[in-house]
């Protein structure tokens, strides 16, 4: 039996995943990439997207990350996410409501408001999350 990849995903709020897996696919800023055991040392920034954890070619877990970093070393893969959620626990209706709320806030704020950039990022994040939940 080939050895396994040690994978951990942490966000500032908590450690979402830590354990041995076969294969992880993550959304790098320059394109999606897969990591297997004994990958060469590799570091990249991440964009909003889905991290898939695969076990024997079946998806075991899907996590949505909001930006961050991935660091591959001989010891394993570490993902430092700005924010992350386990997609199996996400309620689509709730995301919809939050997205609507954020959009309204952005509209009220206007393009020049002091929080416009933050709100825009929030809207982008929520709409990405929504499309990830639907798929």
């Amino acid at each position: 039996m080939a050895s396994k990849l040690h994978f951990s995903l942490v966000s500032p709020a908590k450690e979402l995943f830590s354990g041995e897996v076969d294969h992880v696919i993550a959304p790098g800023t320059e394109g999606e990439f897969g990591v297997l055991v004994n990958h060469a040392p590799f570091m990249t920034t991440l964009k909003n997207g889905v991290v898939r954890v695969l076990e024997n070619d079946t998806t075991r877990m899907r996590l949505f990350v909001r930006g961050g970093f991935a660091d591959v070393t001989p010891a394993g893969l570490t993902i430092l996410a700005e924010e992350a959620v386990d997609l199996s626990t996400v309620d689509a209706a709730k995301v919809d409501a939050e997205l609507e709320d954020a959009r309204n806030k952005l509209a009220a704020e206007g393009k020049e408001g002091p929080h416009a950039a933050t709100l825009k990022a929030q809207v982008d994040y929520l709409s990405d999350l929504k499309s990830a939940v639907v798929n």
Binding site: S8, V10, S11, P12, A13, K14, E15, G28, T29, E30, A40, P41, F42, M43, T44, T45, F69, D71, T73, P74, A75, T78, L80
Partner: protein
């Protein structure tokens, strides 16, 4: 000799003080639990972040200087001292110790001929430092808006302010003075250098076994996004530790106050009973001698 009425009043007032300190102790104990949990939850992220920074900094080629946040401005003439204290008092010596450490650091830097600037976070530190160093103050951040243990917004705000000031050349070295939470009974004030960013000495670096890192997009770009976040993370975890320490210090202080109030009530009740008995005896003597005279 205080009258019976006076003693009674004092006993009642100490009793209500004890009720208040007891309530504050219980509130602090409940908050401490939550603050400790929040601090513990943030620790894995901070540790991983530190080891990623350590890896990156370690693999920086000789000669390439890297971003200024890591390599510094090449000078260490102007220091920014960030003092992190609590918003509220009644926490024993908690804030005093942090301020004492800050004073020591400021005196040391000033003694070495450096220019010192002070930025305070939390009301108590500003109050205590303002008297001596008001001309060195460059800013203050209020933490009273922070709800629960969610310091991420305040921490990112502070991080932005500090890196912004650094980029506009206001200082060369930034040091954060805060109270580190060791356990419920001991909080240790520490001074931690924020800029130029330092990987903690105890961060685990991983042996690459001779391989070299592949970077996407590039090492510089990654460092440029990573370092401000690393600084934010350090600030946020310092805030969480300080928050937990504040509650622990308050809990201990209020526990002591409750116990002292209890002792005081015992002493006062003893005195009250003596005075009461003395009065009864006096009245009896008066009645008896009155009866004898008849």
């Amino acid at each position: 000799m205080p009258s019976l009425k006076d003693l009674k009043n004092r006993i009642n007032s100490v009793k209500s003080t004890r009720k208040i300190t007891k309530a504050m102790q219980m509130v602090a104990a409940a908050k401490l639990k939550r603050a400790q949990d929040a601090a513990a939850a943030s620790r894995p992220y901070a540790q991983r972040m530190a080891s990623v920074v350590a890896n990156l900094a370690g693999s920086m080629g000789e000669g390439s200087s890297g971003p200024k946040l890591l390599s510094g401005t090449g000078s260490d003439q102007t220091h920014l001292v960030v003092v992190l204290t609590s918003e509220r008092g009644l926490a024993g010596g908690f804030n005093t110790y942090v301020v004492k450490e800050a004073r020591r650091l400021i005196a040391e830097l000033a003694g070495a001929g450096k220019t010192v600037k002070i930025l305070t976070v939390g009301k108590k530190g500003r109050e205590q430092l303002k008297r001596e160093y008001s001309e060195l103050f460059v800013g203050h951040l209020d933490l009273s808006e922070v709800k629960g243990n969610d310091y991420s917004e305040a921490g990112i705000g502070l991080g932005k302010e500090i890196t912004g000031r650094f980029e506009s050349g206001e200082f060369d070295v930034a040091t954060l003075v805060y109270s580190q939470f060791k356990n419920v009974l001991s909080q240790v004030p520490v001074a931690q250098q924020l800029i130029p960013a330092q990987a903690p000495e105890n961060a685990e670096t991983i042996d690459l076994k001779g391989a070299t890192y592949i970077y996407e997009p590039s090492q510089e770009e990654i460092l440029e996004t990573l370092l401000p976040r690393y600084i934010n993370t350090q600030i946020i975890s310092a805030m969480l530790e300080s928050g937990a320490g504040e509650q622990a210090a308050r809990m201990t202080a209020m526990d002591n106050a409750t116990r002292n109030a209890g002792e005081m009530i015992d002493d006062l009740s003893m005195e009250y009973n003596r005075a009461r008995q003395a009065q009864i005896t006096k009245e009896l003597i008066e009645i008896i001698s009155g009866a004898e005279a008849l």
